[in-house]
């Protein structure tokens, strides 16, 4: 892992209009002013509960949906301005693995066709196509027998392997992993996670790993960003985040995490988080977490806390810490 950013996200916003009968009633602020960098070769984890905007961040970065404002740089190039050959290059180098392997593979295509379709589109020179696809299948733990079968003949874990083989065919640099194991069984998900880690070590991939499962994110990531209602509330190296979570939301999230150790869970103090995430259409003013926060102060209701660096590599958006810096 080097300290060179491969992805730079600056003030990214994505608002979805809420349509009334005649005019727009308001906006869902799915992503609201998010900035971060991902270093080459690292796994950057993005966690948060459903509806916090983590998938929207990924899709806007990849230009699968249009951002409302903000900029994204991939290897120094402004992604939202790419055209022609450069856009094709970006589409090849930046890939995404989706959560649901049942809808991401075309049911009418064989595995061979599924993997070759983007190869043909991008006119990538591969020599003998069959050998090429078999090579990829072997990398993901499958074989020649699977070549002419259809997606419905495979289990969820195998489909996720096929999706990965299709990604590898593009020789990508950056891969978004959007809940890649959430649809899989426990005994199978470890296989996929380990394979992703091994591939990263061999080929130097950079991952943006999105999940609601903190335990999995910790296992996979070097650094983790925690999102709440369209905002990043904390960024920290993954060990640090678990040792000493700073933001009250991160603390609550960790406390709520079921730990597979009955002795520990019977001793641990229960910090309860009250209420539910508010609607992102009219988020609360000030800090968006303040209605649920046990430490809410007057300023939290009025002014939004900026994401500030409190220690080298640790960022938090909370008024409890903004004094610490200076």
């Amino acid at each position: 892992m080097t300290q060179q950013p491969i992805i730079k996200v600056q003030n990214l916003k994505k608002y979805f209009p809420v349509k009334g009968i005649f005019f727009t009633k308001g906006y869902v602020k799915a992503v609201d002013d998010v900035s971060f960098e991902i270093m080459r070769g690292e796994t950057f984890g993005l966690v948060g509960e459903s509806g916090c905007g983590k998938t929207t961040v990924a899709r806007t970065i990849l230009r699968l949906i249009k951002a409302t404002s903000g900029r994204v740089f991939f290897e120094g190039k402004d992604v939202f301005k790419l055209k022609g050959d450069e856009l094709l290059w970006f589409r090849r180098k930046a890939q995404i693995m989706f959560q649901d392997p049942y809808s991401s593979l075309n049911p009418r295509m064989t595995v061979f066709e599924i993997i070759m379709e983007p190869v043909r589109f991008h006119k990538i020179e591969v020599g003998d196509p069959e050998d090429f696809v078999v090579g990829l299948l072997e990398t993901v733990g499958m074989n020649r027998d699977h070549l002419y079968r259809f997606p419905h003949e495979f289990s969820g874990g195998q489909r996720q392997r096929i999706a990965l083989a299709r990604i590898l065919a593009m020789k990508p640099e950056f891969i978004v992993l959007d809940e890649p194991t959430s649809a899989l069984d426990v005994s199978v998900h470890a296989q996929i996670l380990n394979m992703l880690r091994d591939l990263q070590r061999e080929r130097g991939f950079t991952y943006l790993f999105i999940s609601h499962d903190l335990a999995v994110v910790k296992y996979m990531s070097h650094r983790i960003a925690v999102m709440y209602l369209g905002k990043i509330v904390e960024i920290a190296p993954s060990d640090k985040l678990f040792e000493e979570p700073l933001h009250p939301y991160t603390q609550a999230l960790l406390a709520a995490l079921p730990i597979p150790d009955p002795e520990y869970t019977r001793k641990k103090p229960k910090i309860e988080i009250r209420g539910e995430p508010p609607s992102p259409i009219n988020p609360p003013p000030g800090c968006r977490f303040h209605p649920r926060c046990p430490h809410a102060m007057k300023i939290c209701k009025e002014k939004e806390p900026p994401l500030t660096q409190v220690e080298p590599g640790r960022f938090v958006a909370c008024w409890l810490y903004t004094g610490r810096k200076g």
């Binding site: 509960e49 459903s50 289990s155 874990g157 195998q158 069984d185 426990v186 005994s187 199978v188 998900h189 470890a190 296989q191 996670l193 380990n194 880690r197 609601h212 903190l214 335990a215 999995v216 910790k218 296992y219 060990d239 678990f242 609550a252 999230l253 960790l254 406390a255 709520a256 995490l257 079921p258 730990i259 597979p260 150790d261 009955p262 002795e263 520990y264 869970t265 229960k270 309860e272 988080i273 539910e276 995430p277």
Partner: protein, 328 residues
């Protein structure tokens, strides 16, 4: 400990076009009064089917082909729920044995208010005198499941409530008749972690207040560690290991239980590499002969391929079905 439910040699088959799916093949276990009993396993292992078979909630093409479910009533009688006439079973199901299902959106009827649905269970079982009383009680129940502003929410339709709130209404519906046994089938799987923690806490506190027995069906080992007293691990339609929560987590015996526990990352410990179980869950139309786990087992022996391992006790209250622990 007094038993409340005894499941003996339960077999459930599904008759599909592709063949007969032997979803449950000889499952036996006992749930004791006042405990939280967890049934864990992966998708398709038969944990939900087992929980539904207890009150015969198996629909065509499924059929309970064999077995018995002995329910110990409050006055000490023992009834086999699988042999009971439908009308008598109905008087027990929803009243003495109630369910919470995974998906609160599917469990609630979108055309009726939350109050109506909570009251309905009481009206049907005649635990209230009239609908008016039922709605009044529903407000109390919604308050007890920690729904804010229950006077208003009692008139809310399911689409006006969030997922966590809907699951609270479902829990309210199940608890309205103060059941002796609460069967919770993945009650928090559709919910976020912070809401999951709230719901688990709620189930625990209600259980304590009403002195109920909880049977929890889940795939989440973390949730099991949090609230279960005893645990049964299921694999491919069979129970492979039963023990108390400490025995299962600290001293797992069956290779599948060990594998399952190693495949779940514990966020408190630095995990260098997760161990995975090779292969996938077998097809239950033609399950592997012998031990159903043998094709994926790292310790497989010749006997495992041909003969099914019996349940043996390895320590008091801790049983395992594996040839590694059985002298032949």
């Amino acid at each position: 400990m007094k038993p409340i439910l005894e499941i003996k040699d339960l077999h459930v088959h599904f008759y599909t076009y592709a063949g007969v799916v032997k979803a449950i093949a000889g499952v036996s276990f006992t749930v004791y009064e006042g405990e939280t009993f967890a049934l864990v396993g992966e998708t398709g292992c038969g944990k939900s089917v087992t929980s539904r078979a207890i009150t015969r909630l198996i629909e065509s093409p499924g059929r309970i082909v064999k077995g018995s479910v002995i329910y110990h009533t409050k006055d000490g009688r023992k009834i086999d729920l699988l042999k009971l006439p439908e009308a008598e079973l109905r008087a027990i199901r929803g009243k003495e044995i109630a369910y919470i299902f995974q998906d609160p959106t599917a469990a609630l009827d979108p055309l009726y208010t939350s109050g109506y649905q909570v009251a309905e269970a009481m009206v049907v079982h005649r635990t209230v005198r009239s609908w008016k009383d039922g709605i009044k009680r529903a407000i109390e129940i919604l308050r007890s499941v920690l729904i804010p502003d229950p006077e208003k929410r009692v008139k809310a339709y399911p689409h006006e409530l969030s997922g966590g709130m809907k699951q609270r209404v479902v829990i309210g519906t199940s608890l309205s008749n103060r059941p002796r046994v609460l069967i919770a089938d993945e009650p928090t799987t559709a919910l976020d972690v912070t809401i999951q923690a709230q719901i688990l806490k709620l189930i625990e506190s209600l259980k304590r207040r009403h002195n109920a027995t909880v049977m929890l069906i889940t795939h989440n080992m973390g949730v099991v560690a949090e609230i279960a007293d005893r645990v049964a691990v299921m694999y491919a339609g069979k129970i492979v290991e039963i023990g108390n929560v400490f025995q299962i987590f600290k001293n797992p015996q069956h290779p599948y239980t060990k594998g399952l526990l190693k495949a779940v990352p514990n966020p408190l410990i630095k995990v260098e590499k997760l161990e995975s179980i090779p292969g996938t869950v077998p097809n239950l139309i033609n399950p592997p002969p012998g031990c159903r786990f043998h094709p994926r087992c790292p310790f497989v022996m010749d006997v495992c391929r041909v003969e099914e391992p019996p349940m043996v006790e390895v320590e008091p209250g801790h049983q395992v079905a594996c040839w590694l622990y059985t002298k032949r």
